[in-house]
């Protein structure tokens, strides 16, 4: 291998290497940053529950965004698959419970969630086979094109989806027949929080499992994984399907808690936004995705209240600052902060 070729192969592996360097170890909570964020989020949820009556709704929004971000992080951060069309699964989940309720009278929320996950997973399996045949920009564009196609279908299939007017007549029964969705959003908050805890719990367990480890292996070094006998394509498809199902569940939660579905849940800008959230938090670290979802949603809410006309300027500024000064995202920032604290303590 000539010098130049060698340099090239090293620099070619660089983007992946950069992504993987944000990944520290497999086990969640191994680093202080993960633990700190977990504790912080737990306390935040508790405080919101007890004292933040006015923020229950926003809380459920945050929880839903977290689940969605988690699903994208599993793809982008873990398996190294890029997507600019993940809203398709989110939206499909939302429309699944919406259509099931409005047209079929299936208003039970928990089974609706399951149904949404399954439907999204099915679409994930079909498109995943095709999307995973490509990589890089081609892959990005394919995910986007598929998502746009589904958006168009939903737009056109007016009798089923309500088209641009949104789906009318959707009703969601009380959870377990007991807890009705109220205007204060307490039910929605607790419900989404419960689903979030379950999803995060499963995700943490999964990342500690042989399966999760093999995904990290694929992202870090695809060829090497093949060389230890892994069918990389199958493994990637499986995570694609799983990520689709999770996104579908997140979308279903949004539809159930807001009791409304509009075309915007399928829109390209949502796909872009969720990718931004994952990058903001720090890709490849589950707790980073959660932190990104929290910070982004809160900032958006506060900024758009403070400056309804120009809030996206401040949001842009925040993102730019993060890119320039926190290359590993918010969680990288937390890590750095903790290590500084740690150093001071040991002095």
């Amino acid at each position: 291998m000539s010098g130049i070729e060698r340099v090239k192969s090293i620099s070619a592996s660089y983007p992946g290497a950069a992504a993987s360097s944000t990944w520290r170890g497999l086990a969640m909570g191994r680093t202080g940053g993960d633990l700190a964020i977990a504790v912080l989020l737990g306390l935040g949820a508790l405080a919101t529950l007890l004292f933040g009556e006015a923020y229950w709704l926003l809380g459920s929004q945050v929880a839903i965004t977290m689940i969605f971000a988690l699903s994208v992080d599993l793809l982008v951060g873990f398996a190294g698959i890029v997507t600019l069309g993940h809203a398709v699964f989110f939206g499909l989940g939302a429309y699944t419970v919406g259509i099931a309720s409005a047209h079929l009278g299936w208003t039970e929320p928990l089974s609706g969630l399951l149904l949404a996950g399954v439907v999204a997973a099915l679409l994930g399996a079909v498109t995943g086979v095709l999307v995973l045949r490509t990589r890089g920009l081609g892959q990005l564009m394919l995910t986007m094109a598929f998502a746009s196609l589904v958006y168009e279908i939903a737009n056109r299939a007016k009798p089923v989806t309500g088209g641009a007017d949104g789906l009318q007549g959707m009703v969601i029964a009380p959870i377990l027949g007991l807890f009705e969705f109220d205007i204060f959003g307490l039910t929605a908050f607790l419900y989404t929080l419960a689903v979030l805890v379950a999803v995060v719990g499963l995700a943490v367990l999964m990342t500690r499992s042989p399966y999760g480890r093999s995904l990290v292996g694929i992202r870090e070094n695809r060829v090497r994984m093949q060389a230890i006998g892994t069918n990389v394509q199958h493994r990637l498809l499986s995570i694609y399907v799983m990520s689709a199902a999770l996104a579908g569940i997140a979308g279903a939660l949004l539809a159930q808690t807001s009791q409304f579905v509009g075309l915007n849940v399928l829109h390209f800008s949502l796909s872009g936004e969720i990718l931004i959230i994952v990058a903001l938090g720090g890709a490849g670290r589950l707790w980073g995705a959660l932190l990104g979802a929290l910070v982004f949603t809160l900032f958006k809410d506060r900024l758009s209240a403070l400056d309804p006309a120009y809030w996206y300027f401040w949001l842009g500024l925040l993102l730019a600052v993060i890119v320039l000064f926190a290359p590993k995202g918010l969680i990288g920032l937390v890590d750095r902060l903790l290590s500084i604290l740690h150093r001071k303590e040991s002095l």
């Binding site: 490509t134 094109a145 056109r156 931004i276």
Partner: protein, 288 residues
């Protein structure tokens, strides 16, 4: 019927040329520098605003406003490249996406603050505001000018990239950056120039195409998908690829909507999926 077909073809071409002029620079910067610039459309919008201000507020002729749009936007591009983009070459794609989206957000807010949320229309010279007859069919002169401009820019880029020393260097750097460095090509300066060129052409496209893709603050966001599609289908780092892709998409879209209006944008996405599955690196991709 033939008249209708000609008209559809003509307008499809005009639409395609706007897509091409705006997108071609994006393809070059992505192909050469591996930088995913999702804010590219904001540079195009900036060019549109330059033309608006020049023709409406400053009363400059259209023919002065267009080069001005190129120069101003190219300078802006060069500044952004020097200050930030440069530090993100070779960085994680997610950071590039994050940064360019941040830039896009700030640009949208900036445009809204400066020009308001309404669309802005450049003053078009009288010579281009009439109709021209091709056979017994009449076409708006301005759109004929757009088509001519698209072809002219293709030709100019082809000459620049294919026939000049700087173009030679750009091609060399796309092929093999390290080797280009090793024979003395200053790829860093070359990157700045290329970035400026790419954004400058986008600015020109924003100005020329304002009649078809109207200049609003959210321009860069609304049409982003179209620009990305043109680049991905055309292939990164190519000049002809995006031209072909834009033609394909422009004509298919317009013809599709004419023949089967109820199918809307199905055709575009169908074509994109088919092409990308067959050629993941695009029609003329240097790399994927």
């Amino acid at each position: 019927m033939i008249t209708a077909a000609l008209t559809i073809l003509f307008h499809g071409l005009a639409f395609a040329m706007v897509l091409y002029i705006v997108s071609v620079g994006l393809g070059i910067t992505m192909g050469l520098m591996n930088f995913a610039n999702l804010a590219h459309g904001a540079f195009a919008a900036a060019g549109g605003y330059v033309v608006v201000v020049a023709t409406r507020s400053l009363g400059l002729p259209f023919w002065v406003a267009l080069p001005a749009a190129f120069v101003v936007v190219a300078l802006a591009g060069a500044v952004v490249e020097r200050l930030v983009v440069r530090t993100l070459y070779g960085a994680d794609e997610l950071r590039q996406v994050l940064f360019s989206i941040a830039l896009l957000f700030m640009a949208i807010a900036g445009f809204t603050a400066a020009f308001g949320p309404l669309q802005q229309q450049p003053e078009i010279p009288a010579a281009l505001s009439g109709q021209i007859a091709l056979g017994d069919v009449e076409f708006p002169s301005y759109r004929a000018f757009v088509i001519a401009a698209g072809v002219a820019i293709l030709a100019a880029l082809w000459l620049l990239i294919g026939r000049t020393r700087i173009g030679m260097r750009i091609r060399a750097a796309v092929d093999n950056r390290n080797m280009a460095e090793a024979i003395g090509v200053d790829t860093r300066t070359l990157f700045t120039l290329t970035f400026a060129l790419g954004t400058g052409i986008a600015g020109l496209g924003g100005g020329i195409g304002a009649d078809i893709l109207s200049i609003t603050p959210t321009y860069g966001q609304e049409y982003l998908v179209l620009f990305l599609i043109v680049v991905a289908v055309g292939g990164l780092g190519s000049i002809f690829g995006p031209f072909l892709a834009a033609l394909c998409i422009g004509v298919v879209d317009v013809a599709g909507k004419y023949l089967l209006p109820e199918f809307g944008a199905f055709f575009i996405y169908g074509v994109v999926i088919a092409i990308l599955l067959a050629k993941p690196a695009g029609l003329f991709g240097v790399r994927s």
